[in-house]
Symmetry: C2
């Protein structure tokens, strides 16, 4: 997103390393508020100055924790990806061994999240869909570092959905998996335009069920 800067080699050998449990709080506060602001307003719309002051610190302390804004963005993306897989695994877990119910649970949770449930602490009113996908709109095409993060992430979603389709015995697992992915991604995308569940999101459960039955018959 900007000019490269030589990283100041923060991990000097003289690092004491014992105080690793209760790490400094500034860096965490910055990352947390950055996640909120980036998600809600977009990456390019939020400057490092705004992030720092919103986190209760200043720009200088910001650059002591992050070599550049791009590094913060990279951490934002991987952070959001981690949250996503955590959500995924938690939704999947209760139906281990039943891939079809797992897929249904995922889709039901998607519409639930669209309706109202947002992150616990943050006062985020409306969901804005996929953080990684939205970031892809703003990431310049020559920034392979950030682009690869999103690409790997979306590829993993695709892989998991195809695997789920294969496990439930679909006739064409790749097609069914990709179709489910399109429904989910479409729901993320349209959430930018239609607040809450006023959009086509609510059609997902029936659509997904119809697709599964067609592929299982």
């Amino acid at each position: 997103m900007s000019a490269k800067v030589a990283s100041p080699d923060a991990a000097k050998l003289s690092r004491p390393e014992p105080a690793i449990a209760d790490r400094p709080r500034v860096r965490d506060r910055i990352l947390e508020t950055a996640c909120e602001l980036f998600y809600r307003h977009g990456i390019r719309a939020v400057g490092v100055d705004a992030i720092a002051s919103e986190a209760g610190t200043n720009k200088m302390s910001f650059y002591r924790s992050f070599p550049s804004k791009d590094d913060l963005v990279a951490e934002y993306l991987t952070d959001q990806e981690g949250e996503y897989w955590k959500w995924w695994d938690e939704v999947i877990a209760p139906y281990a061994g039943d891939p079809r119910r797992q897929a249904e649970a995922l889709i039901e949770s998607v519409v639930d999240l669209a309706r109202h449930k947002m992150k616990e602490a943050s006062g985020c009113k409306t969901s804005r869909g996929c953080a990684l996908g939205n970031a892809c709109v703003e990431i310049p095409e020559d920034n392979q570092r950030l682009g690869d993060i999103v690409h790997k992430y979306k590829n993993e979603i695709r892989r998991r959905l195809r695997k789920l389709a294969r496990e439930m015995g679909a006739r064409e697992p790749e097609v069914l998996g990709d179709a489910l992915m399109l429904l989910i991604e479409g729901s993320y995308y349209t959430r930018l335009t239609f607040p809450g569940n006023t959009g086509p999101v609510s059609a997902i459960p029936k659509a997904a069920r119809a697709l599964m039955e067609a592929h299982l018959g």
Copy 2:
């Protein structure tokens, strides 16, 4: 996207108005290159200076044609919307009276456009999906003017697809229309991440067919 500026009331009463056929070319050039740059790199990533010089003119001439960047963005969005409906109607036309084939034609054209066919003149290598949808990521939430353009547009897509579903005699037209919309929007969204047709886009035709058959029986 920026501070509001009083419009200089360009349409003075003394406008001669005869030379309306061969309108000035500067404004058109600016709008055309703006469409390309906005679509390819995002709205926030492209400054008016870059647009003007890429269009073979300069910033001052730009502000003689557009009161502000926001006005240019608004025109960009409505322009892209117009292109979309033009494409839509052209794809629909050959199958008038056969709503199901119309829907199939739309979906086939969607994957065709993802594969290779891009705009005629512009050397745009890869499609980046929906211009209006992508813009929604970058539009600040308090900008009702731009937000409404996208909202109306997406609402019209939804209305047309639901209408198509109703015309083909679907049991639940709203559900089928919304499901088709999710597939299409999902294909637009994932096109940001997967170049060409390497993504789940190619699963659309089979998925759409399965959904239609399920809703028609």
